[in-house]
């Protein structure tokens, strides 16, 4: 019987060399993240309500995976379990072959900070901070005060570069309330990428945006995936948006109903 292998933070920076992005065939690519028999029940008024009923899912290195489904199908719950924000009731989550769902809280925190980037439908920027400070937040969390200040210039340069990349270099000092929806989501993308994560987990990233702005955001994600081989799992209910992904997984009633290339 094969021993269970857990993710260790020391192995966190094992960077994957994904296969060239030119070909979009991921059959031979290394397994980046996987869910095995994932179940999640929520307990309400002493009654267990199953949300995920045994989900099996795989994400290959450099793949852009879309998870679609109706409201209440468990898409967001699945994403939270994959991103270690929530613990599954049963089943396993693997990252680079290591099991991560049972990790200690501190290890899961580090994993979310260093290996995963997350963006949300409602952007969730911190209103007290400027755009630049919001983007720097994962670096501030990663580093202690001395370490952060010692490398502050480098961190700020990296954050500015990312904001430039998403077209927000002119909005560095602005507070979130001074930005449009599209700008806030771009800032959220820059924040998710500042720690150079391996996987981007996007929860309805265009759900709160108009079609044009949504398309712009999607284009940014697509570019990141193509040019930098960033693995992406995107949850959406919009099939048109999902169509931009390499692969679409349909979730219905807590189970994977259909996977299509």
């Amino acid at each position: 019987m094969q021993a269970e292998v857990h993710y260790a933070p020391s192995a966190a920076k094992k960077r994957i060399d994904p296969r060239p992005s030119a070909a979009r065939d991921f059959d031979d690519a290394e397994m980046h993240m996987a869910a095995v028999g994932l179940r999640k029940n929520y307990r309400k008024a002493a009654v267990d309500i199953p949300v995920l009923k045994g989900v099996d899912l795989e994400l290959r290195c450099g793949e852009f995976l879309a998870i679609v489904g109706q409201s209440g199908s468990g898409k967001s719950t699945l994403l939270h379990c994959l991103g270690t924000l929530d613990a599954p009731t049963a089943g396993e989550v693997h990252f680079l072959g290591y099991r991560i769902d049972h990790l200690a809280a501190t290890h899961r925190d580090r994993l979310r900070n260093e290996e995963f980037g997350m963006i949300f439908q409602f952007y969730h920027l911190l209103p007290e901070l400027s755009t630049l400070e919001n983007v720097l937040m994962p670096l501030m969390i990663q580093h202690g005060p001395w370490s952060y200040f010692a490398h502050r210039r480098r961190h700020v340069a990296a954050a500015k570069e990312l904001l430039d990349k998403v077209g927000l270099s002119h909005r560095l000092k602005h507070r979130p309330r001074e930005l449009s929806g599209g700008e806030m989501q771009r800032a959220a993308i820059a924040r998710a990428l500042v720690n150079r994560p391996q996987i981007l987990l996007a929860d309805e990233p265009t759900g709160n945006l108009d079609q044009t702005t949504g398309a712009e955001i999607l284009a940014i994600l697509r570019t990141l995936n193509r040019q930098e081989n960033l693995s992406i799992i995107m949850v959406t209910h919009d099939l048109t948006i999902a169509g931009q992904a390499d692969r679409v997984v349909r979730l219905a009633a807590g189970r994977v109903e259909q996977a299509s290339p």
């Binding site: 924000l85 925190d109 937040m137 200040f149």
Partner: protein, 514 residues
């Protein structure tokens, strides 16, 4: 890093936190002001107590004391001479002071203290509280021509004026002596006009004209002679007139007063009787401790010993009631006391440090200060509960942000740290502002008093009660440090519960919080 950044930003952007900051500020300022005033009062009080009491007091039993001061002082020197800078013998006895003012007779119960002119000023600050500059330099029981302080030398600013003292001294004595002479001459002339038959004959008188001439030669002339000098506490011979905001003196240097003491019982005279003598006021004692100033009267030691019959006529050895000892180092008080207690019989002698003598008052003041501090710290505790309530509200308001931070990898301790650093920032800002406000208030406390008095029209700090013309304050850095640190600690402690609640929030539930 992010903890401090967010803590500071929450402080700047949440104006409701201002309420907590103001509470902490007011609490800290109040504590600093009260402690400074209490410390000032205590210091002034102790200085004045110590001013009249030497470092160590060596007492005999009762009012009759013990004989032979020199022999006792030699023995004290033998036991603890290395620690002693000076000694002086003293006689203390309850007595009565009588004087006249505008035809009214005033009687006061006093504590009459016989002091040695040569040595007394060297063991205590006694001379500092006299009103003639020459007496402050070198104590003398001789009346001065003039030059008594019209403006209080201890607190020249805001001092209550004393115009009566301008005429004090020989000038005053000569004036009223001359007037008295004139009155007597008028009386004599009136009697002569009435004829010799009107004057009752003294059946025991003998000698006739020769005796009259002798009496005329020995007559005491007030305009050129003084009685033995006496220094009287200001409270015994003055009144504060609120309408004029000045002290009125009922007797001034140059006036004569009468002192009545109980004589010391002896084999010749076993029952004590009252003995009176006339003294001339030569100076006024003002320690600004109302208890002392309205009780103490000082006369030359030898005179009091003679007056009370404390000198053995056969040996010429006099009794004293205590020996005041000044030490080279005041801190050795307890050591010297214990050494002397070991050397002298406890049933015959009482040996105390000056703090022992005033222990009940000092303990009461210390207790008062402690209770006041506890009560005032409750103000900051109330502010602490305010912080707790406001922080709980902010945690609820910030629930989604807490979820975001957790999704970005912030740990439980990190999230807790945000709110603890928020409490720390709030406490630091509040305590810092309170420190500034408190120190400013202490610095201008007398000006504040003046403003309050002009607004309310009443004396906020009546010098006739406290005998301080300015509110005394001492800022003790250690106390201020404790107050500031204590306030910050309360602010941080008050933020612990909300911070724990924030740290325990489930990230997904927090993200979904509406």
């Amino acid at each position: 890093m992010y903890k401090f950044l967010l803590g500071w930003r929450y402080l700047r952007t949440r104006w409701i936190a201002l309420a907590s900051i103001i509470s902490v500020t007011l609490g800290v300022a109040t504590l600093i002001v009260v402690n400074s005033v209490m410390a000032g009062f205590t210091h002034e009080m102790m200085e004045r107590m110590h001013g009249i009491l030497a470092d160590v007091i060596f007492e005999g039993p009762g009012l009759n004391g013990f004989p032979d001061a020199e022999r006792h002082m030699e023995e004290i020197r033998r036991v603890a001479g290395d620690y002693i800078e000076g000694m002086t013998p003293v006689v203390t006895v309850p007595a009565m002071l009588t004087y006249e003012f505008r035809g009214h007779q005033f009687n006061r119960q006093i504590l009459l203290i016989g002091i040695d002119e040569a040595t007394h000023a060297s063991v205590s600050d006694f001379a500092k509280y006299l009103q003639h500059p020459d007496n402050r330099r070198k104590l003398s029981f001789s009346l001065h021509e003039r030059g008594y302080d019209v403006v209080d030398h201890q607190s020249p600013q805001n001092a209550v004026p004393r115009p009566d003292l301008e005429r004090a001294g020989w000038r005053h004595r000569k004036m009223w002596g001359q007037r008295k002479k004139e009155l007597l001459q008028l009386e004599a002339a009136r009697r002569r006009q009435q004829g010799p038959s009107q004057t009752p004959q003294d059946p025991f008188a003998g000698g006739g004209a020769g005796r009259d001439a002798q009496q005329r030669d020995n007559v005491f002339d007030e305009t050129t002679h003084q009685h033995v000098g006496v220094i009287i506490g200001k409270g015994l011979i003055s009144q504060y007139l609120p309408s004029e905001q000045a002290d009125r003196f009922l007797a001034i240097p140059g006036d004569d007063v009468q002192l009545t003491v109980p004589t010391m019982p002896s084999s010749m005279n076993p029952k004590p009787t009252g003995e009176s003598r006339v003294f001339t006021v030569v100076d006024v004692y003002e320690s600004k401790m109302s208890e002392y100033d309205s009780q103490f009267v000082f006369v030359p030691l030898r005179e009091l010993q003679d007056f009370r019959g404390m000198i053995d006529p056969s040996t010429d050895v006099a009794n004293i009631t205590s020996i005041q000892i000044k030490l080279k180092n005041e801190a050795d008080g307890e050591l010297v006391r214990d050494k002397l207690r070991a050397a002298f019989r406890a049933e015959l002698y009482g040996i105390f440090t000056w703090q022992d003598k005033q222990s009940s008052l000092l303990t009461a003041v210390a207790l008062e200060k402690s209770i006041l501090n506890i009560l005032l710290f409750l103000i900051i505790a109330v502010a602490g509960f305010g912080i707790l309530a406001i922080f709980y509200m902010i945690v609820v308001e910030k629930t989604r942000d807490i979820g975001v931070l957790k999704s970005l990898g912030a740990s439980r301790s990190g999230v807790m740290g945000i709110f603890l650093s928020y409490g720390l920032s709030l406490g630091t800002v509040g305590a810092g502002a309170g420190l500034g406000l408190g120190l400013l208030f202490v610095h201008y406390i007398n000006e504040v008093r003046d403003v309050l008095e002009s607004i309310t029209g009443t004396k906020v700090f009546d010098p006739s009660i406290y005998y301080f013309f300015r509110i005394p304050t001492i800022v003790e850095p250690l106390t201020v440090g404790w107050v500031v640190m204590g306030s910050i600690a309360i602010a941080v402690l008050a933020s612990v519960l909300p911070a724990r609640r924030a740290a325990r929030l489930h990230p997904v539930e927090a993200l979904r919080y509406e």
